[in-house]
Every structure is written in C-alpha cells, then in structure tokens.
C-alpha cells in the first residue's frame, strides 16, 4: 500500500499516519458501496432499465383513423373531414403552471381555458403517460405559436389531424348529428375499445347511430421522442431504437350513403326558413326512403363539434323553439284534420253499407247531448270526397260517432301511429293513439265525445311528422306501410359498396284499394278544386298535389296573437300532409309548422315550394298549365278548424336532448 511504503519523514505526526489509514479504508469502503450499487443497477437490473429507457424514447403514437363520410344518395358530402391542428400535451410533463403559461400565450378564452383545464385534470387523474388532446381544431396562428415556443413548452405538440366537418352547415343537422369529446365516465365504459382520452364520438342522429361503422380503427406509429415528447427524426436513431413495424396504418371508417336527396333537402330547408320553426319529412312512396328530413330551428354541427361556447350553449338552450329537439322524430303533435283521412278509412272499411256517396248535412255544428261540437263553416250536404276536400268537422263527427273510438284507434294503430317507426334515431317517439282502454284508465269511462274529438285528430291523439309521412305514403301506394329508411348503403372509404339496404315493409294494410282511392280522390280535390282547403296554399302549376291540411289547436283559442309569421307558443300548429303527383304518387310529404297558424296558410305553401323544387326538372315544359284559375278560395278561414276539447301543447312529448351537449 501507498502509505505503508512511505519512507519516514518525521515532520508528520505518527497519529496522522494511523488516521489516514482509517480514512483510506473509509474511502475504499464508500467507493466500493457505489460500485456495488452500480453492479446492482447496471448488471443485475440492467436489462429492465434498458427496456424502461427504451420505452422512454420510443413512443407508440396513435394515428387516429379517418372517419367515414356521410353522403347523400348522389354522393354529395354532408359530413366529411378536413385537416386541423390539434394541440396535444403530455400530462406527466405539463404541470399547472405550464398550462397557465400556455393559455396566456395562446390567449385562450375563459371557455377554452376551463375546457383545457378539465381535460388536463382528467388526464392527471387517470395518470396518462401518452399525449392527450388539449385543444382541438386550432387556427394556424395558434399552431405556429406553439411550434415557435416548443423549447419553452416541453411536452406540448401540434399535430395535423383529420377533423369532422359539415360542409352544408346547419342542413339536416338533427339527422346527421355532431361529435364531441368523450367524458371520463364514457371512457371508462369503452376501455379497450380503441377509444382514448380526447377522442370524439358521434353524439346525435346518424353520427351516433352509425358510430361503430363511421369510426374506423386507429393505427400505430413508433417514433423516437426526446424528453419533451418532440419527435427525433433521424433515420439512423430510429433504426437502432425501434423494434418491430414502424407503422401500422389506421383503417378508415365506412362511408354511410343516405337515401337523402341533397337538392331536395336544400329546397326543403330553404322553404322551411320562411317560418320560425318547421318539421318536414319527404319520402319515396314505394320504398319508404327518406328524401328530406328537416327540423328547424337547428344548430350548426360545426359549432357543436368542439366549438360550442357557453354563451352559444345557453342561447340555444334558452330558445323556446328548442333547437336541439328533432321535431321530426323526437316530438309528437296533435294531427288535427290530417287525421280525417284515417277516420274516413275507418268508415269505408266498416261494412258493406258504408258508402262514400252518402251525403251528410253540415249545419255548422254537431250536437252531442247538450254539447255542440262546432264546424268551421256551414257546409250543407256533402259526401266523403267533398268532406275531405273541405275538411268538414260535422261530417267526421258523424263518422266518429258511427264507428266509435275502438274502430278509430284500430285504424290509426294499423297505420303505424302510436308506435316508433323503426328509424331508430333521435328518440323516434311513438306518439299516442287513445284507445278505449286508454280513457278507461285515464278518466274511468269512455265518453262518446272522446270518439268525436279523435275523429278530427284532436283530443289526445299525438303523432310524429315522420309517422304521418309514412301513413300517407301507405294511402298513396295502395296500403304498404314502410319502415322509414335513411341509410341506403355502406361503402368502403374507396367507394365500393359493402352493404346495400333494401326497403323494409312494416305491414301490408288490410284496406281495400277502393277505399284508399276514395281518400286519394278527396285529397286531390282538396288541392285541385276551388273550395278545397289546400287550393289556395298548395296548388301548383308544376305538379298536381294531393294533401290534407290540419290546424292543431294549441290553447283554448284565446290569446291567438296577431302577426302572421311571428313565433308564439299560443298559436296553432299548422299541418299539410300528402303526396305528389296526385294521380301517380311518387313522393309523400309531411310538413308541420309548429305554432305556425292555420294549415292552409303556413304549412301548405311550404310543402308546395318543396314539391315544385323537386318536380321542376321533371315537369313537362310543353304542357304548360294555364294561368292561375279563379282566385276565390274558400275553405278554412283564419284559425282553421277547431274543436272545443282542449289540446295540450304538442311539444309535450318532446324529449329534451340537452343532456347530450
């Protein structure tokens, strides 16, 4: 040893020599301890730490799939994807202070700040190690701000990813739906099903219903990253560090091709825009396929998809017209006079004695005991076709009395009322057909007045717009009640058809074609002939329309507001339902203008505009229809038909979908 061999120079005290020997021992022991620790870390556990260090730098980065498009029947995109800048953070690197500095840098609004904080908190709670979406769909300026400050913000990165977009804006918004981020609870639910924190999912309409087909499957890419999560793009480094496949491409989602006709939808939306609110369904007579489905007021799914501010949300929720409710499927309304077609069919199918030619006299009211059920006019004697044309209440009160509530409700149920249509989206509420059992349970007895109210579609009858379109379609096509169909086929992302969906018959109605023909004639007359309820509002020079107006009373009639087009919750609901062309039916339509006033005034012109748009191309231009005939339209006066029985607000059955925001 060094010390022992030291030749004596006696300047050094002897005790020093002894002490230094101990010190040397101490030093050697301490360093030996360090070497032992090194052995433990590097040799004993070396392999484990090697793997840990590798997983530090090799990150499995998820490549989100491209969501399938939603297309109209001609391939016009109604929902597709565009590139967007998404800002991701690594929650184990970014702390609260950094988040705040980032928020300051990007000048986030209070809303955005709150949302970002909530997401980060969820990520912290879950102990996420990977990147988590902090802010989606950011502008180019914010993206470049983050990119420029990347040294200052380790663990923050911008990725260029597909983002859902709805090129037609608010069009068919309820049908299409929208997307937003999964909540923490939903994520727990979908654990292991290819959903990660920050993922979006379909929230409404078709986006929700077809989520699993539209979504696709995410891919995986292995990248080398530094401690800040920044990608190290060095071929050599990647080759030495990455094991296995570098990239597993994502599988894009399926395209959902609708039966919707974009141009007709656009025309319907435009026509509906004249009103404060509207609900419209247009279907193919011989298949039940939906060509247009409108619910207004609506929302912009582009805003709903990640850009809904609290202020917007509050405004939408506070709107008394309930923009979030799909008025074609999620609300039911009293059908009013549109129901008379089914009362007529109940009578015609009653027995051999029933005759459409039988004349009934209308004196302006119908007496039941001491009570008078009023008509809107004094129609004199009229047969069934004429009664349908002029919508005479007294005539149908008579039929109601004759057939009774049981028969009326049986016919209504057979036409699909009182049950979901089977479309399967946005609640698809069943409405209500009051049967004798219904009143027995509710009132304890069945009064003759119940049948009278139901005979003209008031009382407790409630239907949806889509049910009405399907039922009138069945009248027009000879008794085939279809399940409404909105998805025509699924195709691959490259456009090859995967599944084609056939029309589905719901039931073949047990109604003779002779009976249906009577109703068809009556409803054609209602539009074509002066005095018909739809003559003024729906008669078109382009296409012959058959249809039935309806004016569903909302309140007792008191407080009917002034002003034609002003939204007022006390105003009557306006219906116009039918098909066109009148003699060779192709399409059925159901137009409801909630609180729009009289059926002939609000709904009928809207329906006419839509049908004219549809048939304009097909109309034989050479067969120019002569000038507008005698403008003397009688029919319903202001306020439409009324029945004394109070009708509750039709929106009653609406299911609020606010919870899905």
């Amino acid at each position: 040893m060094l010390i022992r061999s030291a030749p004596g120079t006696q300047t050094v005290a002897p005790h020093l020599r002894r002490r230094v020997r101990w010190v040397v021992l101490f030093i050697v022991a301490a360093l030996a301890l360090l070497v032992a620790r090194l052995w433990q870390l590097q040799v004993v556990r070396g392999e484990e730490y090697h793997q840990r260090a590798l997983s530090n730098v090799v990150e499995e980065r998820r490549i989100p799939p491209v969501r399938g498009k939603i297309l109209d029947r001609e391939g016009v995109a109604l929902a597709e994807n565009r590139p967007a800048f998404n800002i991701y953070v690594k929650p184990h690197i970014v702390d609260g202070r950094q988040k705040n500095r980032l928020a300051d840098l990007l000048e986030l609004s209070a809303d955005e700040r709150a949302r970002a904080s909530a997401r980060l908190r969820t990520a912290w709670d879950r102990g996420e190690r990977g990147s988590v979406l902090l802010l989606e769909d950011q502008g180019r300026d914010r993206a470049s701000l983050v990119a420029q400050s990347r040294l200052e913000f380790p663990g923050v990165q911008v990725r260029d990813e597909p983002y859902r977009t709805y090129p037609k804006g608010t069009m068919a918004a309820h049908l299409l739906g929208y997307m937003n981020q999964l909540t923490g609870a939903e994520l727990e639910d979908k654990e292991g099903r290819d959903y990660v924190l920050g993922d979006m999912m379909g929230r409404h309409g078709l986006e929700k219903q077809w989520e699993s087909y539209l979504r696709g499957q995410s891919g995986m890419e292995q990248v080398v990253v530094d401690a800040s999560g920044r990608r190290v793009e060095d071929e050599a480094i990647e080759q030495t560090l990455i094991e296995g496949p570098k990239i597993e491409p994502p599988l894009p989602g399926r395209n959902v091709v609708l039966t919707l006709d974009y141009e007709l939808q656009a025309a319907a939306e435009e026509a509906a825009a004249q009103e404060a609110a509207a609900s419209i369904a247009v279907t193919e007579i011989d298949s039940g396929r939906i060509l247009a489905l409108v619910s207004q007021p609506s929302f912009d799914p582009n805003v709903m998809t990640g850009h809904l501010s609290r202020a917007d949300e509050r405004r939408l929720l506070a709107d008394p017209r309930r923009p979030f409710v799909d008025k074609t499927l999620a609300s039911h309304y009293p059908p009013a006079s549109t129901f008379k077609a089914f009362t007529a069919l109940a009578e015609l199918e009653r027995d051999e004695d029933a005759s459409p030619e039988e004349a009934i006299s209308c004196g302006g009211y119908h007496s039941l005991g001491s009570h008078r059920f009023h008509c809107m006019g004094n129609h004199g004697g009229l047969d069934m076709r004429e009664a349908l044309k002029r919508s005479c209440n007294v005539y149908f009160y008579q039929l109601g009395e004759r057939n009774g509530l049981g028969r009326l409700s049986d016919v209504a149920l057979s036409f699909g009322f009182g049950a979901p249509t089977g479309l399967g989206i946005n609640a698809d509420v069943k409405g209500r057909v009051p049967t004798p059992a219904y009143y027995r349970e509710r009132a304890g007895f069945v009064a003759p007045g119940h049948a009278l109210n139901v005979s003209i579609g008031q009382g407790d009858v409630a239907v949806t717009v889509i049910q009405m379109a399907m039922a009138y379609g069945a009248i027009a096509n000879g008794g085939k009640l279809y399940v409404p169909q909105v998805v025509g086929r699924l195709e691959s992302s490259s456009g090859e058809t995967i599944v084609e969906f056939e029309p589905r018959l719901r039931s073949e109605l047990d109604v003779s074609d002779r009976s249906l023909e009577v109703v068809r004639e009556g409803l054609a007359m209602a539009v074509a002939e002066p005095g018909g309820t739809g003559y003024r509002g729906a008669r078109s020079e382009i296409v012959e329309i058959a249809g039935k107006t309806g004016t569903a009373q909302v309140s007792s009639g008191r407080g009917q507001p002034e002003g034609e087009y002003e939204w007022h919750p006390d105003r009557n609901h306006s219906w116009f339902v039918g098909w066109a062309p009148a003699d060779e039916p192709e399409i059925a339509f159901s137009v409801l203008i909630p609180h729009g006033g009289g059926g002939s005034q609000a709904a009928a012109p809207v329906a006419r505009d839509i049908l004219e748009a549809y048939f304009a191309d097909r109309a034989d231009i050479s067969a120019h229809v002569d000038e507008q005939g005698g403008g003397e339209a009688e029919g319903e006066g202001h306020g439409g038909e009324t029945a004394r029985a109070a009708v509750r607000d039709g929106d009653e059955g609406a299911r609020r979908e606010g919870g899905e925001l």
Partner: protein, 375 residues
Amino acid sequence: MKLGDGLWMPMGVSRWHRFARRFDWPLFFLIALVAGLGLANLYSATHATAHSGKFDSHAVRIAVGSLIFLGLTAVDYRKLQRFVWLGLLAVVGLILAVAVVGHASGGATRWLDIGGMRLQPSELAKLGVLAVLAHVVHGYRSGEVSPGASVLLASLALVPIGLVAAQPDLGSAIVVGLIATSIGVVAIPRVWPLFAAGGLGLTMLPVLWDYLQPYQKQRWLTFLDPSADPTGAGWHTQQSIFAVGSGQMTGKGYLNATQNQFSFLPEHWTDFPFSVWAEEWGFVGSAFLLAAFAALILYILYLALRARDEFGSMICVGVAAMLFWQLVINIAMVLGLAPVVGVPIPLISYGGSSLLATVIGLGLVSSVAMRRHDY
C-alpha cells in the same frame, strides 16, 4: 528557501529542468486522466444540443485551469500560508456581496457577475475554509497557538458554512462542513468528542428541518419516497437510474446515451454527468472512472503523509476530502442513494467556479508535492 526571493520564480532553461525533475508527474497524470474523461464525457453530454457551446467553454477553462495549476505549483505554498485568513475574508466578502447584488437562479441566489463571468463564491468557500483550517492545525501542532485559541480560530473558520447554507446552497454547505470534519478527524488527537458533537448534531436535524426551503424539503421527501413526486425531483432520480441501469455491463457506446441526448435529465452536464458516462460506458467504464478518481484521491493522501509540514499535509487532506465528498455525494444522488442536491463532480461537471476551486486546490497539492523534496 532556495527558490529565489519573490513569490514568482523566473524560469530559465536550467530552472525549467529542475522544475520538471521535481514536478510531481504522477499527480499530474492522474489529474489529466480524470479531467480528460470529464472533457470527453461533457462532449457527449452536450453535443448536438443547444448546449454544445458548453463543451468549448469547458475546454478553454481546462486550458486556463492548467496554467493556474502550473502557476500555483511554481509558488511555494508556505509563502501563501500568511494569506489564508485574508483569503477567507475575501470569500466571506464575496458571499455577502452575493446576498446584495447576486444573481438569482432557481429559487436561490448563488452567483456573482464579475466582468461578464459568473462566479459562485460558495465554491471558493470550500477552498478558503480548507486552507484556514490547515493553517490552524499547523499552528496548533507547531505549538505556536494554544489548544483553546486553536478551537476558537477553527470555529471562526466555520462561519462561511452558515453563510453558504443561508444562501441557500445546502449542497455546498454540506460539502464545506464535511471537508472541515474530515480535516478535524485526521488532525485532532482526541477525535471522539468530535463524533459525539456530530451525533448531537444529528439529533438537531428536526430543528433544522424548519429552516429548509420548501423545494429542499421536497427533495428530501422525494428521496425518501421517489414515487411521491413522479414529475419533479423524483422523476429526475428515476430517469437517472434508468440511464445508469440501461448502460448495463459495457454501455451503449460513446455518444449513444439516449436518456441524456433526449434530455430526460435536466442540467445533466452539471448535476448528472455521471449518468451520461454510466449509460455510455456501462459498469466497466463506471468502475474505471471511480477507480481513476480513487487513485487521485488516495495519491493525494499519500502526499499528505509526505508533506514537509503540517500545513502542506492538511492542505492535501482537505483537497482529498473536497474531491471525495463531492464525488460521493453526486454519484450517490445519480444512483438514487442520496437526494437531489446541487453538488458537482470535480473536473467532470461543467461549471467554472467549481473548476476554479478544484484547480487551485490541486495546484496547492502539487506545490506541496514539489516542496516535499526541499530540506
């Protein structure tokens, strides 16, 4: 005194020969070996990062440091003995100056800007305390100073520890304290009272706890339970252990330390250079580095026994302690055996003040080594 009258020895050719013959080459080679490893490691730790300039400045500092080392070698350390109190006073002055005009960084004020250079007086405090204690021991052993006065002077020499701790620079304060303790353990004839005092000091720890800064408390708590703070200090320890462990037996090869290249460790050129080394050179290289360091320290202790006088002997003991404690504390931290404290490895870590203190210390040792042949 054979070496001329002035402090500075004019060197003619014949003097150069004499200098070269008396120069302690083993010491020089051991220092050069460790410094060379440090320089190579620093290149790997900073290359291809925004900090690659640190390698250049460290290389320049090594060159300047060599001149300081040679200059001090040429000076008889005994001539410097009379300046030790002045030196300590200067260090205390600098530490106080830091408190007034110092440069704050990371929650503590430790730096002084001098003509564009940043000086960390706490590093020089290590040296100042060491030299004064060596001087006190010398006075006591030679009988010039009474035991009671020696104790008084020695306590006076410990004032800077408190000042450094108050900066707060706990790491440096601990190192200075350990250097002083080491000299005491070697020099004091009856050493058990010192251990008793140390034991008493340990019982005072809970009281001292209250004086720690929150981040310091955090570091200790994290050390006791690394998973308590997986994003902060605990994360660094974890990453450091991953780095060292992933080096395995023979390492990933020079310039291939992914943990460090991809900045999983902050400031790894000052606090975690050993983790870079261990990742790249593995167990074999790590053991070699420790062996080289051990050889240097033990050789300096060997010189302590050979020194001409008590002062030179204690200088050697003090410098050996300075090297040893900083090395052990830093590496224990890197290996997860000690909390994260800012103690650099002499000659290996990047940092001008630390390097300056180290080369001055080693220069003194070299001077002692050369003078041992003087009679």
